[in-house]
């Protein structure tokens, strides 16, 4: 730091021989009601995690309000218990249960202390077979959800994400993640039980258990608890996604905003694409991690932003790449220039072998870290199995990543990062940023 103190440079140590992660041993059963169950023993801490994935789609954009309310109210009671009794029963086993979802699926995720998993599975069965949607509590929860949505949708980052999704998938269920408060309030509470019967069905669903358990015994416990879960109908899918309509940059005015929220992105290959490893490297190298070109440029060199990032997003019927950066108002246009420059650079020129190797190694390590916990392994396994892949992917994908070449990345970048095939959204103070943006892009106010 000060001249009197600078120590002499030393050589950075190399890496020692890597130890490969052990592939988890997976026990599996397909139940007569169509539920697929997978159990993995991972006794790192005395807990058991359960993750139930139900492939039920939001098929029309205007179903989003009901789907959101269904998720929020599923734990308000069952045929046997009130909301409080259910919550107490979960608490008693050190457990919790959460419901989440998107346009493709519902997820019920929970955990318990070791020894509590049989009770956890019974409670899960009670919910999927007999969630009761009591009128009074549902009305209360709807009002609460409406308030949460108003608060959520007042966040500039959320406004920007929603505006970008609308441009990408207008009219399709993928075109937004959050319903308006009014849509939720308009859902009749009496319609939820029918919606539950239609959507919460075992056929095609997947239950993953990971933790301090005995797999064979866990499978038997699932058969006992969830064998009587019935439902007519099976998985449903969203409608096909059409090609992205390219258009002007959409500007959402937020008068007085001290930052602008930039969102830029387009279509991407799916996780099952043969070139997926190269696609992942291209995304990460461009903007998917701290060492990326994007962070180097607009954060560490220019100081325009705190946390720029690009990410791959996978849904059943479409995958996408989204670049996001929240920047100071007066550098809105300069930041977009730099983002377009970094995108264009990787599309036009192959990266160096050194950059590719470093990025691939980062992705290999991230996968190892993300599957080193019970909860992380359960989440990763659920995604892989639902995509039709299996646990061997955890061994094979690192090999694919480390054999990606600069030419592979260059080719993937042309499919993924071309600025000409992207849609762009900016949320910010239009009075200050519209002029500078209009010098770069055709701009349209939202």
């Amino acid at each position: 730091m000060s001249p009197r103190k600078v120590a002499a440079p030393r050589e950075v140590p190399g890496l020692s021989r890597p130890r490969k992660p052990r592939l988890p041993t997976v026990a599996e059963r397909k139940m007569p009601n169509g539920l697929r169950v997978v159990a993995v023993r991972r006794p790192s801490v005395p807990l058991v995690h359960a993750r139930l994935r139900i492939p039920t789609a939001v098929r029309r954009d205007d179903d989003l309000g009901r789907a959101s309310l269904l998720e929020r109210t599923m734990l308000l009671g069952t045929a046997e218990r009130s909301q409080s009794e259910l919550a107490e029963a979960l608490q008693r086993i050190g457990g919790s249960l959460r419901v989440s979802g998107d346009a493709d699926r519902l997820i019920l995720a929970g955990e318990s202390l070791r020894g509590g998993q049989s009770e956890l599975l019974s409670l899960l069965a009670e919910v999927v077979s007999g969630a009761s949607y009591p009128k009074g509590p549902v009305e209360g929860e709807a009002a609460r959800l409406a308030d949460l949505l108003r608060r959520h949708l007042s966040q500039p980052g959320v406004i920007a994400d929603e505006a970008w999704l609308r441009q990408m998938y207008d009219g399709h269920p993928y075109g937004r993640e959050n319903p308006a408060a009014e849509e939720v309030l308009a859902v009749p509470p009496s319609s939820l039980r029918a919606a539950h019967r239609r959507r919460v069905v075992p056929d095609g669903s997947l239950l993953v258990l990971v933790g301090d358990l005995t797999p064979a015994r866990a499978l038997d416990q699932v058969s006992a608890a969830l064998g009587s879960w019935e439902g007519s109908g099976g998985p449903t899918r969203v409608p096909k996604v059409g090609p992205v309509t390219l258009g002007p940059l959409v500007l959402v005015d937020r008068p007085g905003a001290v930052q602008s929220n930039l969102r830029l992105g387009g279509s991407a290959p799916a996780r099952t694409d043969p070139a997926y490893a190269a696609v992942e490297v291209a995304n990460a190298l461009f903007g998917g991690y701290f060492s990326s070109r994007l962070t180097m440029n607009i954060r560490e060199d220019k100081g325009y932003t705190y946390s720029p990032r690009s990410s791959l997003r996978h849904s059943t019927a479409a995958s996408s790449l989204l670049t996001a950066a929240d920047v100071a108002t007066d550098v809105t246009a300069p930041a977009l220039v730099e983002i377009a420059y970094e995108l264009g650079r990787l599309v036009s020129l192959p990266p160096t072998a050194e950059e590719v190797a470093a990025t691939a190694q980062y992705l290999v390590g991230s996968l190892a870290l993300s599957t080193a916990t019970q909860a992380g392994l359960a989440a990763t396994l659920t995604v892989l199995l639902a995509d039709g892949l299996d646990v061997t992917w955890l061994r094979e994908h690192p090999e694919r990543l480390t054999s990606v070449t600069p030419a592979d990345v260059h080719e993937a970048a042309q499919r993924l990062l071309a600025p000409a095939s992207m849609v762009a959204t900016v949320v910010g103070d239009a009075a200050r940023i519209e002029g500078p943006l209009a010098a770069l892009y055709d701009v349209q106010r939202a």
């Binding site: 130890r19 490969k20 020894g115 905003a257 100071a328 190892a368």
Partner: protein
Amino acid sequence: MATSTPSTSYAVERGTLRNGLRVVVSPDRSAPVVAVAVYYDVGIRSEPEGRTGFAHLFEHLMFQGSASLQKMDHVKYVQSSGGTLNGSTRLDYTNYYEALPSNALERALFLEADRMRSPAVTEETLSNQIAVVKEEILVNVLNQPYGGFPWLTLPPLLFETFPNAHNGYGGFEDLESATVDDARDFFDRYYAPGNAVLALGGDLDPEQAIALVEKHFGDVPRRTVPTRPDFDEPPPTSERRAEQVDQHAPAPAVALGWRVPDPDDLDAYLPHVVLTAVLSTGEASRLRRRLVHDDRLATDVGSHVAFMEDAFDVRNPTALLVEAHHEPDVPADRVVAAVDEELDRVATGGVPADELERVRARLTSSLLQGHDHVLSRTLAMASFEQQRRRAELVGELPALLGAVTGEQVAAAAASLRPDARARLDVVAGAR
């Protein structure tokens, strides 16, 4: 059904280098990953007046190069080894950490030692990181509804002295006037090896790991270790209130804060932690049941000990906080009155054994889940070692929380009196 409360224990080995650096090592060979954490015993409370936000700005500067490393080299070496990294600035410490495949352990130790020995700060990196930190504050606070509520906005009400009351993210004027000399002085004063704890966890051999620590950190020069001031101040003797208009907020909110016993005295402190779980963990908890579900006074309510929700990572003085979001047509006074009634119910009626048993089971499970991650566990060990000289608390905490009695929780609730608190009302200013 009965579930016996399971627990885990982690082996801990410790040592102190000749330069004063304290080291704790905890092996776990179940997955080929390791975590490395360095905790410096300096945080927001120690920054000088006129230099608000400096501890955090300095954290950013520690990533900008050192004797053997150019700007960004540190990040690139960690990530190209397959690792992740970060740092954070809290009230009482600043930490730097990595989680990596275990074959990168020596590299991570080298990188941390290099910046402990000799970080490089230039005018250029300083002005770059001032700009980055300002963007961080904009995105997390100034451009955000409820930004900084209540962790930045309640301390100035509850506390009167600068170390406890000031904004730890910092004012833009203070940040912009920071100099390279300030950075040198701050490093010289607070980043001595004897003022730090190094924790290693995961897939490692303790003996080899300690030898590598000695190899890379052993010749970091010993320096004077600053004496940590006592930041204690008298608690409020009457309710301290304020209103804050939030131009981005679509609905009002209210936060209450009370001083709690010195965290150093675990017997007196832990009942307050258990109380927050009784009050607001899960839908069966007292405040969620009463305010959210039964009376529908609040759309959301939570409580926790410590401003940054880091009850086990903080020193005296700290607080128990309750925060609630409510609809504009519900007066905040009704929300607060219901909180007071529920506190009174715990204080006078106690916590039945069955309820306490459930709350303990859930607390244990949350702690175990946190400690499943080698990085979270190693961070907790570093902090326990630094603040309490006992990394083993990671495994011992569930039993200690389990030993808290209903009477102790009731006494904790009884101490949360209206005339001893700070209350901040957020007025919704969004159109």
